[in-house]
């Protein structure tokens, strides 16, 4: 067996190497490392945006430009307008102003594009990247194409960082802090919401996650990282001009994130390193080969990207990580964490869900006609019917995904129609999906913890700086409790995608329970389960009923339904044809005819 190193040891070695680097390396290499650090900071934002969140931006260079130009203007201008005079002359104040300014710009751009489907954001960033670049070049106050010179060095406690070897420490401090906080953020309540953006938005919304907000958060964070990098860049170069903030550089930043491995924090560093060093080398070699000057390295970068995305879409970092044997750390659950508070359940027997004469038409087709049903606390109601009877449409009316043409659905006395999934989740209705919706690369524990999203309130900043650990332990404990309850304890730390389909359905139930609901909507929970698993599921549902939760299930499996539920509603052709106790419904001639055909 290969010797395994602890992650702490490897990180320690890495930091030690960094600390001595500027003392032993020639200034050429220190400069190179400075640029790698600056670029990695921008690429890190793109890791969050692209690799984790499934969004992308080609305009990050323009955000770098905002940071750089803000500090250049504020620290060199001899006459600032009165309202800005307080920020003049100090690089640190300029950083604050730049970050605020960038955040505002990102918020405006984000609110324009983030609600549209994913490809509008990158197209928008291409357009605004170009606009801003031309603007940098044409505004006289920004020095036009020649730019601004005489940017002062940054001072720390009266000490001037005017050499690359000195600024090196500040650059890498910024980068490491950004990497640490990003990693912390991803491993938190907000982080799970962010990781659900890629392929799990509908599910996340049903669990109460505001996905539009999560998208905005990562877009703004990525912009702020870029802005900080620009600020450092301006004080490293001591002058700014528009060239490094053009669209082609924005594209290069994205290449760094993708080549390094857009899914991982360390991918940003690897990507920035590879591209920066390769660029240095190619810019040296290619013009000599081709016998003319020009940016020919882009040919190689472009082709490299195509090959990476065709062959190794996760980038270089996973390939590198395999070479270094790092001991896997499994997260520890804190059994002592205080249980999360629970909402009081309605009294048993109280009607919690009521559908009144719900009709839903799609053009000429009447999918639901005059459907009424009610669910009480502490009761299991089954909605059954042959294929095409309109069960799923009814389910959508009840869960608020769709709005009835006429009639209404009341949950705890309040109308469901017109509320989004998040609000409905907050009211205490929790659901599973007919086609399982989970995040296959995340562990079972993390998937279930998304269900408890609304039971925590720690935000981005507390997550980034680990001020959320108490709440996080409680959330994870709650998730673990629900996992044990549904019988998946042995799979707690497995990737959710590795479970069998039946187990994935059970996982969805655990996730729904983690939300502390008073009404569970289960869409065909027994499909794909084996006999024993069905028995276990039935036991679980009986236990939940005993606790006072109301359960509505849409099901095909008659054996499962008949032994379990209190009442049955049978649908055919969009209408209710029978309602009552399971035994009565089973003898009802209309039901027999619907299921078995008429008796000749």
């Amino acid at each position: 067996m290969k010797p395994m190193f602890s992650p702490r040891l490897i990180l320690g070695v890495f930091l030690a190497v960094l600390a001595v680097a500027p003392l032993v390396l020639s200034s050429f290499y220190v400069t190179l490392l400075n640029y790698i650090g600056l670029y990695a900071l921008v690429a890190l934002g793109l890791v969050l945006l692209t690799g984790v969140g499934g969004l992308t931006s080609f305009g990050q260079a323009a955000f770098v430009g905002l940071g750089a130009y803000t500090t250049a203007v504020l620290t060199t201008a001899t006459e600032l307008p009165g309202w800005l005079a307080w920020a003049g002359g100090s690089p640190w104040l300029a950083l604050v102003v730049g970050l605020v300014f960038t955040a505002v710009v990102a918020l405006v751009l984000g609110s324009l594009t983030l609600r549209l489907s994913g490809h509008y954001l990158p197209l928008g960033t291409i357009a605004w990247g170009i606009s801003l670049y031309f603007l940098f070049g044409t505004l006289d106050t920004l020095g036009g194409h020649t730019g601004l010179t005489g940017v002062p060095p940054i001072t720390v406690f009266g000490f001037e960082l005017d050499r690359g070897e000195e600024l090196f420490y500040l650059i890498w401090l910024f980068l490491l802090a950004a990497m640490l906080t990003t990693q912390n953020l991803l491993d938190s309540r907000e982080g799970r919401a962010i990781r659900a953006l890629k392929g799990g938005m509908v599910m996340a919304e049903a669990m109460g996650v505001n996905t539009a907000r999560s998208r905005m958060i990562i877009f703004v964070i990525a912009a702020l990282h870029a802005c900080a990098s620009g600020w450092l860049y301006a004080h490293l170069q001591r002058f700014v001009n528009p060239t490094p903030f053009g669209l082609h550089i924005g594209i290069e930043y994205l290449f760094m994130a993708v080549v390094g491995g857009a899914g991982q924090v360390w991918g940003a560093l690897v990507g920035a390193g590879v591209i920066t060093i390769a660029k240095q080398w190619l810019q040296d070699v290619l013009p000599r080969i081709f016998g003319q000057s020009g940016n020919f390295e882009v040919i190689f970068f472009g082709l490299m990207m195509v090959i990476v995305l065709q062959r190794a879409r996760d980038g270089l970092w996973p390939l590198l990580a395999r070479l270094v044997p790092v001991r896997a750390t499994r997260r520890e659950l804190d059994a002592a964490a205080e249980a999360l508070p629970r909402k009081p359940l309605p009294a048993k027997g109280e009607v919690i869900l009521e559908a009144k004469e719900v009709t839903r038409r799609f053009g000429g087709l009447v999918a639901n006609n005059n459907m009424s049903l009610s669910v009480r606390a502490g009761e299991i109601l089954a909605l059954i019917g042959p294929n095409g009877a309109g069960k799923s449409t009814m389910f959508n009316q009840i869960s608020g995904v769709d709005t009835p043409t006429s009639g209404e659905v009341l949950f705890l006395g309040r109308a469901v129609a017109g509320r989004d999934s998040r609000e409905i989740a907050r009211m205490g209705m929790s659901r599973t999906f007919q086609h399982v919706k989970l995040l296959p690369t995340m562990t079972v524990l993390e998937n279930v913890a998304i269900g408890a999203h609304l039971r925590g309130d720690k935000g981005v900043l507390s997550s980034a700086w680990r001020l959320d650990r108490n709440e996080e332990a409680r959330l994870l404990n709650e998730a673990a409790r629900q996992i044990e309850r549904v019988g998946l304890a042995e799979h707690m730390f497995d990737a959710a995608g590795s479970l069998a389909l039946g187990q994935q359905r059970i996982l969805e139930i655990a996730r729904a329970l983690a939300a502390d609901p008073c009404l569970l909507l289960l869409d065909e929970p027994a499909a794909g389960l084996r006999f024993k698993e069905k028995q276990a599921l039935a036991e679980l549902l009986k236990k939940l009923r005993g606790e006072g939760i109301g359960i509505l299930l849409v099901e095909h499996d008659m054996d499962f339904v008949m032994g379990l539920v209190d009442r049955v509603v049978v649908m055919e052709f969009g209408e209710k044809i029978a309602e009552g106790l399971p035994e009565d419904v089973q003898r009802n001639p209309a039901v027999l005819e619907a299921y078995l055909g008429g008796v000749e």
Binding site: T56, Y120, A127, A212, L309, R313
Partner: protein, 345 residues
């Protein structure tokens, strides 16, 4: 500004708008059929125009070597597949299209006095070199990842664009060029003089749009592409090969791009990287149509053309800023007509 200048600017705007309309149509088509956001569309404009310039200068256009290289690569891939599938019969056709065709082109360009041919023949040669790069590009770059998410396809598109700009610099150099106009005729239309080239551009665009319309309405292949655009899986189940649909789409996109380049080369100086900005303006137009509607995209193209022409009069330094900032109100408008949260493809 007086009426005369306004008319002149309007004429400029309509000429450019016609080109943007063509490009916008190609972008909408490519996106609908393959889900690829086709950033390299603009490179076909530069490649078409500058290949014509090289032919007219009596040089062998460097793009023909790119065609040959890409053809060899595609041949290597497909010959291996054909052999593995036990279909040696396909070899002749594969090698014929991928390798023999570019070689024949090279031979013709070397032996014939193309420099002295009439312009129409030179244009046909330029198209013969540049247009087949479209389907080849689909085969080599997009077909292996046809099922990837839109985002990945977009990043690949940007990568291809970047590589093509680099190659363009290598092939054509940093100098810009123009070609002689198709005709020197000038027509008096009321108070303004309309140049023959303007009429060529507008009429050719209209003819091409009508031809495309007929293609999509009347021919089997056109209908196959429309079916693929509406429902990829359904079309596939009906026997429409997604690879064929992809190549056909890219053929059309390359044709439209290269033809646009040939049409505007007499009006604007074309540099190796000019196509990108032209293509992006086509994008702004396509986004006006939500990347889905052809008529709205065409209307957007006219809007972009006119906005560009008039802003170059009033604020020429900020011309590009104004045109690309147009995208913001458009996105705002689209965003306000927002919908439910949906999963990204």
């Amino acid at each position: 500004m007086d009426f005369q200048i306004a008319l002149l600017l309007g004429q400029d705007g309509i000429t450019n708008g016609a080109i943007y309309a063509l490009l916008a149509l190609a972008l909408v088509l490519v996106f609908a059929v393959t889900r690829v956001i086709f950033i390299p569309q603009g490179e076909f404009v530069s490649y078409g125009a500058l290949t014509l310039v090289m032919i007219q200068a009596g040089a062998i256009p460097a793009t023909v070597w790119l065609l040959l290289g890409a053809g060899l690569l595609a041949a290597a891939l497909d010959v291996r597949l054909a052999l593995r599938a036990g279909q040696p019969g396909r070899l002749v056709r594969l090698v014929g299209w991928y390798v023999a065709y570019p070689l024949v082109l090279v031979a013709l360009l070397y032996t014939l006095p193309v420099k002295d041919f009439p312009m129409i023949a030179q244009i046909l040669f330029a198209l013969a070199v540049v247009v087949p790069m479209g389907p080849l590009m689909y085969r080599l770059i997009y077909q292996p990842i046809a099922a990837a998410p839109v985002l990945v396809l977009l990043i690949v598109s940007v990568a291809v664009h970047v590589a093509m700009v680099g190659l363009g610099l290598l092939f054509f150099g940093a100098e810009g060029s123009r070609t002689p106009p198709f005709s020197d005729a000038r027509f008096e239309m009321g108070p303004v003089m309309v140049s023959g080239q303007t009429i060529w551009v507008v009429v050719s665009s209209l003819v091409l749009i009508v031809a495309l319309y007929q293609f999509f309405e009347r021919t089997l292949y056109g209908k196959a592409l429309r079916a693929t655009a509406i429902n990829r899986v359904g079309a596939r189940l009906m026997g429409i090969s997604p690879a064929l649909a992809g190549r056909l789409t890219f053929f059309l996109a390359a044709l439209i791009g290269a033809l646009s380049g040939v049409l505007i080369a007499p009006i604007t100086t074309i540099y190796y990287d000019t196509g990108f900005l032209i293509g992006l303006k086509g994008f702004v137009a396509a986004i006006v149509g939500g990347l889905g509607s052809y008529p709205l995209a065409a209307a957007g193209a006219l809007l972009v053309g006119l906005l560009e022409a008039f802003s170059s009069f009033w604020a020429s330094a900020h011309k590009e800023v104004i045109v690309f900032t147009l995208i913001i109100p458009v996105l705002l408008w689209r965003s306000l007509r927002g919908r439910h949260v949906e999963e990204e493809e």
